[in-house]
């Protein structure tokens, strides 16, 4: 750009720069940028306040030396795993929750978004935007504590309801006529549903507070899934759905033996399979496929159901998520099942993904490692 005779363009450029600087300074989140050598080029007042540094202490400093991402125990995250490095490795913005170490050594929980800076397609540095989430975490913790307490308190009256309902239905308190028995069946079925919901809420609280108990033992995935089949078959039968289990030939079944937690695996399969049955129209098909991988065992739960709309697919594992196309069809879901499944799999070192097409069906696949990694065993 060349200067015009009356100086209009340089003036406009200066005004633009001043405006950009004002925006940068006024941003409510911490903001830091680096050059191509990883040196800090800009830092706004919010970032300085959050980290407890003075501007001159950070300007031109090497980013990883001063902006230290740490774990909750204050151990530094390896340089390659820090959000800003990951953003440059992937070329995409990376958003995650981590902790940053302040100048005085304290740590603060933050939500970070790091992105590469590109000029004409060439990387010339990176930015990191972050905000303090101490308050959000405290609210989450209180919410989890409340759910845990409420769930425990609900269990006691519920078990009384269930016990006495069963006693009544078994005729231990005198004979009942047909309508009374039917009403009792509804009470028992509703209290079973409530019991399941309480278990889900308790499990979620345990995952979120890091107190879930994981017991690693040698288990055979095929045997575990087979144990669940009678209950799942009954569910499928009620909707005339064909439920099949596909497993490798007998000779290969020893390869389905892994070291993991049997209760967690059963919970995951039950959740995925009952979801598949619930969200598949009558006379549809659900298939559970188990196959050994080199380092893991893979289980797929495939259905011919309503599928998940494309625009909702990135929220599938979020808490309370329910796809809009099934909310009216199925009113009993809580939107917690897949959130729980993801959390349970994380606890045993597993992974999960899915393919889905609206109106065609969904295929969830999860992996279970043959052996838990060392850090999981330590937990």
């Amino acid at each position: 750009m060349t200067a015009s005779r009356d100086g209009t363009i340089p003036k406009r450029r200066a005004a633009d720069q001043a405006q950009a600087e004002a925006i940068f300074t006024s941003v409510g989140d911490g903001f830091i940028s680096t050059d191509e050598f990883g040196h800090i080029t800009r830092i706004n007042p919010v970032a300085l306040k959050l980290l407890g540094y003075k501007r001159q202490e950070l300007l031109n400093a090497w980013f990883p030396e001063k902006i230290i991402a740490v774990y909750a125990d204050n151990m530094p995250v390896s340089l390659i795993d820090r959000p800003i490095t990951k953003a440059l490795l992937t070329g995409k913005p990376i958003s995650e929750k981590t902790f940053l170490r302040r100048k005085n050594g304290e740590i603060i929980p933050v939500a970070v978004t790091a992105s590469p800076i590109l000029m004409n397609g060439k990387p010339i540095g990176a930015t990191q935007i972050f905000r303090d989430i101490t308050l959000e975490q405290e609210v989450d913790r209180m919410k989890s504590e409340f759910i845990s307490l409420a769930s425990h308190q609900l269990r006691t009256p519920l078990s009384a309801i269930k016990t006495y309902s069963h006693m009544l239905s078994d005729g231990l308190m005198g004979p009942l006529h047909k309508d009374q028995l039917k009403a009792l069946e509804t009470i028992i079925s509703a209290s079973n549903r409530m019991n399941e919901l309480i278990s889900t809420l308790l499990n979620i609280t345990r995952i979120e507070t890091g107190t879930i108990a994981v017991t690693f033992k040698t288990v055979n995935v095929c045997e575990l899934v087979s144990e669940l089949m009678p209950e799942l078959t009954l569910m499928a039968h009620n909707k005339s759905i064909t439920l099949k289990i596909k497993q490798p030939p007998k000779i290969e079944r020893s390869r389905l033996r892994i070291i993991s937690d049997s209760l967690i695996i059963k919970e995951v399969v039950t959740n995925l399979a009952s979801n598949a049955i619930k969200y598949t129209p009558d006379n549809g098909k659900v298939e559970i496929i188990i196959r050994p991988g080199t380092k893991d065992v893979r289980v797929s739960v495939k259905d011919s159901g309503w599928g998940i709309p494309l625009h909702s697919q990135d929220q599938v594992f979020s808490k309370f998520f329910r796809a809009h196309n099934i909310v009216k069809k199925e009113t009993t879901g809580t939107g917690l099942g897949l959130y729980l499944v993801k959390g349970l799999l994380d606890a045993v070192g597993g992974t999960i993904w899915f393919n889905s097409k609206e109106g065609k069906g969904t295929n969830f696949t999860f992996t279970l490692p043959r052996k838990p990694s060392k850090n999981l065993i330590q937990i």
Binding site: T34, E36, F37, G38, W62, F63, P64, E65, L79, I80, R82, I84, T85, L88, L89, T90, G91, K92, P116, K122, P123, I124, G125, A126
Partner: protein, 89 residues
């Protein structure tokens, strides 16, 4: 019988191993897949300049030692120069 000459990917990996050790494969694979949108095995000499730009800025967040960064990217740059020379012959 002449043995097959190493591919560009193998040469890049060999250089990267010297500087990044065991993490080299993962590092290069991610860079190629994410920035060049291709499989590492399909890396060609024409991709190297762009790859070097990304490597330089990423490695700058792993080490502050400019000599290491310059030597590493310099060696990669030599692959481009040699290829140009060979093409010139």
């Amino acid at each position: 019988m002449n043995s097959k000459s190493p591919s560009i990917y193998e040469q890049v990996l060999k250089i990267t191993h010297k500087y990044l050790g065991a993490g080299a494969d993962n590092f290069i694979d991610k860079q190629v897949e994410n920035h060049l949108n291709k499989s590492p095995a399909d890396l060609s000499i024409t991709d190297l300049s762009s790859l070097i730009d990304w490597i330089k800025v990423t490695v700058s967040l792993i080490t502050e030692d400019n000599t290491v960064i310059d030597n590493y990217t310099g060696e990669l740059q030599k692959l481009v120069s040699h290829a140009k020379l060979r093409a010139g012959h």
